[in-house]
Amino acid sequence: MNEQQQSLWEFMQQQSDKLLEQTIQHIGLTFISLFIAVLIGLPLGILISRKLKLSGPVLGIAGILQTIPSIALLGFMIPLLGIGAKPAITALLLYALLPIIRNTYTGITGVDAAVKEAAVAMGMSKWQVLFKVELPLAMPVIFAGIRTATVITVGVATLASFIAAGGLGEFIFGGISLNNTNMILAGAIPAALLAILFDFLLARLQKLNLKKLKTATAILPLLLILFSSFYFLPSAYGSKLKAGFTPEFMGRHDGNLGLQSKYGLKINTVVISDAVMYKAAYEKQLDVISGYSTDGRLKAYGLVVLNDDKGIFPPYYAAPIIKENSLKKFAGLEKILNLLANKINDSVMTALNYKTDYLHQSPEKVAKAFLVAQHLWKPAQNGNGEVVKIGSKIFGEQYILANMYSMLIKGYSNYGVATKTGLGGTKICFDALTNDGIDFYPEYTGTGLLAILQPSLKTVDSLTGNKDATYDYVQQQFQAKYGIKWLKPIGFNNAYALMMRKKQAKDLNIKTISDLKRYLESR
């Protein structure tokens, strides 16, 4: 435990520049959103306390906004506002609205009617009643709303890293993808501390007595503006093209680190989620992205893979990995899972992915159509044997594979099947596997090597580029270390790849990563 803490501390020291930058971005992002949310929410709350008929619809809409999943909301924003700060701030402020509007409304309508009547009867105008009586008396309740909104926003702001708006989410989601606990904690602990700190500060402000409240009311906007100014757009290097890489890609030796060390590539880079990256490239928000070579969206959005002429991306052959205990428990399962071995090559997988990602067919339908075409499909036996738990990561290809395995198991055995799809990253999948949360899931040799085993750079270098050597290495190491077996590869190589829009790549005459570097360095 002590060792763990120390290495976390070391990691934070080592990455202190980045950590500070992300923390400041996080604070800035939170408070800009909060500031705008107060600017919108407070007047709206006042309005509906005046026109009670509007209160239902306004609170209803704000409530519905609150229930939209954050990633979906961020996704909606891209066509409208692109990527980066604008959509992130918009999404965050939409989440912050409800508590602010609701508490302003509750606070004002809760002011003692006799006090309000007295204020009117003294000859105050509507505005005087509002500013001298209603708002000051509602202030503790409004503060409570802003407090809630702050804590929500600090939390949701971690998701801003999905759309290249920075913040502590870069470490958190990078860490999850890279199976790097220190990186996760380096993002999560400051984020939690920020939430606690701001909650505490606002609580202090809220509990001030009535006299000091006047000062507090003046301080709050100042604080909001001050913290808001922390935020600056992830600074540009001033290169001609803009790249968007996933947090995972950013931290990997076979990712951005390799691009920098082996190619010397210097490009203006933002961190973005895999879920919105392709679309952002299509919408010309980004020029270069770090995709997967079999991704269906490659086809859907007219993107082209740049040739990795220096061979920094190791092979990523997919194969199911399963605990040996599970293989013993479910006799015959290995044979069933190996039915898919070498059945799907790169172009087949890309085509299947295209059907789900672009044509929006269900993974189940795509899986069945493929199995039927391959004469592998058998009707389900509806057996009541023990249940095999299948896991999958949170992208289309994995959903298709999970469905294929599910149909094969049902068709060829009397085992029941439970699927746990959409596990958000390598770490989550692998932890689920080792903790018996799932029995198997499709993994990639490169990921197994770099994200899970994390051998020395020398070992990685010796394996890079060699499909079979990599497979043999991970097979042997997983067996020894975790008692987990790699079954036969499915056939396709879903490696990392840099991609650009076809047209732009053609116009700029960029075919390889070296071409890209040359173009960036030319004047």
């Binding site: 007295a118 009867a121 003294m122 005087q128």
Partner: protein, 325 residues
Amino acid sequence: MIKVEQLSKHFGKVKAVDNISFEVQEHENMILLGTSGCGKTTTLKMINRLIEPTSGNVFINNQDIFEQSPEILRRGIGYVLQNNGLFPHYTVAENIAVVPQLLKWDKKRIDTRTHELLEKLHLSKDYLNAYPGELSGGQQQRIGLARALVADPAVLLMDEPFGALDNVTRSSIHKEFKALDELKRKTIIMVTHDVQEAFELGDHICLMDKGKIVQDGTPSELLFKPENDFVKDFLKEQGLQLEFKTITIKSLWHLLSNEEIAGTGPGLLLNYNTDLWTVFERFKVVNAIPARLNMMNLENKEMKTVSFETLMSAFYQFQQQQQGA
């Protein structure tokens, strides 16, 4: 001074106030009396336009109040609420200064006036920086009164001003209220459901029921010449006590005989405007038997010494005359 003409307020189909008219003379204390829901508070709030009437006119000093902006109108009318309505986030001083600040008085003038009022209302200056929550109910009500009086408005509207106070506090505030010279210069309309309070403080009383005025008259008119059974029933419960409080020595003067006994000396001297209730209180502290009190007619300086028995027989004669008339 205040003239209300055919004033009505309908809430949907309910006629809260139904076509009422009355007048209040300058420096008069007029009471709107009635049970809850009779429309008395609605009537009061229409006079400072907290409630806009459905129809009718109100004139203050011959000026139509609906031709003025409501804010300006209200700054010229003092208003006292049942639950004082003090601003909890303002100190006592700030609460009192609300209207002067709206009227843009300078700080010195506000300070001088605030201190003057506190003295008149027997409130310590120590309270100035306290918040209303730190004061007792009676003190809060006095601050509420100070707030209404600070700009010296000619008209004062009071909505059950003493309704939330306990009996002891209320009667002590009643006494102060009657003694306060500030109030003698005001034209006051006060809403109450308390018959005794109405008789004690009112120069004239409008008894209301179901949005209409049942009888408009002086306390003794209501008592001795009730318009109908409603008025009679309304006052019946507290009848005798009310009469004692309404009738002064002056009304009985012609029925009183002088019973001066040589050697008793002048002793306590009562003004002939004193009501009988107060006179009885005085009898209680007279030790001599039979108890006698000295009374003076302020018009001709005539003095009479009267015993309790004489006073009571004069009272019964007076009652019979009133009812016979």
